[in-house]
């Protein structure tokens, strides 16, 4: 029995005379106290300091880049002389790449509109709220839906010969099958991590990979007449 300090227990309702209260927990009540290890800190200076450091780092980086690399400036605008290829800014090159594959109404209007709408409604669909691995519920049915989607996309994209979109699709699908095959807690770290991911993770990942691939192709691999070229020159 360790030495205990000299406590006295009294029955009192005057908080000035008996300021410390002790709760006695009986057998039937849970003594658990909800405690988090997430304390508060003062915004000034803790947050402000971090924001200041982030600002400094980015300022320095951009200043150095601006000292080394010059912004491009070509000859004056000339409506008569069309450069080949004429390219939009890089963040629209994925879109321009879509226009190469699909008619303008699809690549230029339908797909971008659907993407924006899809982004907006993400938080309003319960499927995006619930966490939990994709294969923990209704595994057989979900596998069927995945397989049918992959077959439809593969046939459709093959007919249109849009390999640049098909390849990432098959890659993501392969990852999904890989995680579907085994119980959630088997395999290496990557497999376990992927297995714990819900459906929205897969859709967003698929979308981002497509966007990156298309933008990269449009930026680096397109030359005169939107033909395929190597980034360092020469046709592909």
């Amino acid at each position: 029995m360790p030495e205990s300090p000299n406590y006295t227990t009294v029955l009192d309702s005057d908080s000035r005379r008996a300021p410390v209260r002790v709760a006695f927990v009986t057998r039937r009540t849970s003594p658990h106290v909800k405690a988090t290890d997430d304390p508060f800190v003062m915004t000034h200076p803790e947050t402000l300091l971090r924001v200041a450091i982030a600002t400094e780092v980015l300022m320095i980086l951009l200043s150095v880049v601006s000292l080394v690399f010059n912004a491009p400036l070509e000859g004056m605008a000339d409506p008569i002389q069309t450069p080949n290829p004429a390219k939009a800014p890089w963040y629209f090159l994925g879109l321009q790449e879509l226009l190469h594959y699909f008619p303008p109404i699809v690549g230029g209007v339908l797909i971008p509109t659907l993407v924006v709408i899809a982004l907006i409604v993400i938080p309003y669909f319960n499927i995006n709220i619930e966490a939990g691995g994709l294969w923990t519920k209704n595994r057989a049915r979900r596998l069927r839906v995945l397989t049918i989607s992959v077959i439809v996309l593969t046939i459709g994209l093959s007919i249109l010969e849009v390999w640049a979109i098909l390849a990432p699709t098959l890659f993501v699908a392969a990852l999904m099958y890989w995680t579907a095959g085994t119980p959630p807690d088997s395999g290496g770290r990557l497999r376990r991590w992927l297995t714990s991911k819900p459906l929205p993770f897969w859709i967003m990942t698929w979308f981002l990979i497509e966007a990156i691939v298309l933008t990269a192709i449009g930026t680096l691999f397109r030359g005169p007449g939107w033909s395929l070229v190597w980034p360092w020159g020469g046709s592909l």
């Binding site: 304390p39 003062m42 000034h44 600002t55 951009l62 491009p72 409506p79 800014p89 209007v109």
Partner: protein, 271 residues
């Protein structure tokens, strides 16, 4: 030397003028620190206290903050650029040449604006992806996600309208390619395009329109929505933190309290 600077600084901070501006008062107590944030129009978009975990780098990667920093850099470099720029053909292009060869540090100014703009577009996408993968769009933050989507589109338009302003071949044809996409919109595509360009081709009217959008309209829209975005972060309870395992005491520990009245030991029922 050091101490006289220190003295001067102290006298400034204690002067009536300073204290009339920054009412929080001096001192390092938490009250003073809270007042420094709460009594300041700009800082009070922050709450005075935050969860330590929401400041960890691994949560946000500071991508939203960095996006905002690029926006500030763009405002700070954009205003001096406006001093040297005329939105007219062919003067706009000549102004680029002036920035290059005549204006002191003109090249640096233009470079910084350009690279910060590209960086901002990249960071907005990265921030969005980060927020998504954290699941931080979930209620009650769903509206702030929508505000974010608006900011994404505004950012793209800001960058796109700025792209035309140098009036070089790159600018002209990029905008031509981009605005041609609009023609594909069914039924009113051509009308929208005409409205945007002030003509059927990219011309001097388009330059003026893009200039007004780029330097006035879109920055104001962006500032408003950024304000709402930040305000909503506070109203939604600060940054989203993944629910971590809460810690419960493993087993109730036996306690013993000598009672003054009975002098006997009271022990927990589990003892």
């Amino acid at each position: 030397m050091a101490s006289s600077t220190q003295n001067a600084l102290n006298r400034l901070l204690e002067s009536r003028v300073w204290q009339s501006v920054f009412r929080g008062g001096r001192g390092m107590s938490n009250l003073h620190r809270a007042l420094a944030v709460q009594q300041n129009l700009f800082l009070h978009l922050f709450s005075v206290k935050m969860r330590r975990r929401s400041l960890e780098f691994g949560i946000t990667w500071y991508l939203g903050t960095l996006t905002f920093v690029t926006f500030l850099i763009l405002v700070a470099t954009g205003i001096p650029l406006m001093l040297y720029y005329h939105p007219s053909v062919p003067q706009a292009y000549a102004d680029m040449k002036d920035l290059q060869f005549v204006v002191s540090a003109g090249v640096f100014l233009r470079n910084l604006h350009r690279w910060a703009a590209h960086t901002m577009v990249f960071l907005v996408f990265a921030h969005m992806a980060r927020v998504f993968y954290r699941g931080a769009y979930r209620p009650p933050r769903e509206f702030n996600w929508v505000v974010g989507v608006v900011l994404l589109i505004v950012t793209l338009f800001l960058s796109y309208t700025g792209y035309l302003l140098p009036w070089d071949q790159l600018a002209f044809w990029a905008i031509t390619v981009g605005s041609n996409i609009l023609s594909a919109v069914p039924w009113m595509g051509a009308k929208i395009r005409f409205l945007m360009l002030g003509g059927t081709t990219v011309n001097a009217n388009a330059l003026l329109r893009f200039y007004v959008l780029h330097c006035v309209v879109l920055p104001l829209v962006a500032v408003s929505f950024i304000g709402v975005h930040f305000w909503r972060i506070r109203k939604d309870g600060g940054l989203y933190r993944e629910p971590r395992q809460t810690h419960y005491p493993a087993q109730p520990q036996p306690i013993s309290i000598p009672s003054s009245e009975t002098e006997s030991e009271v022990t927990s029922p589990h003892a």
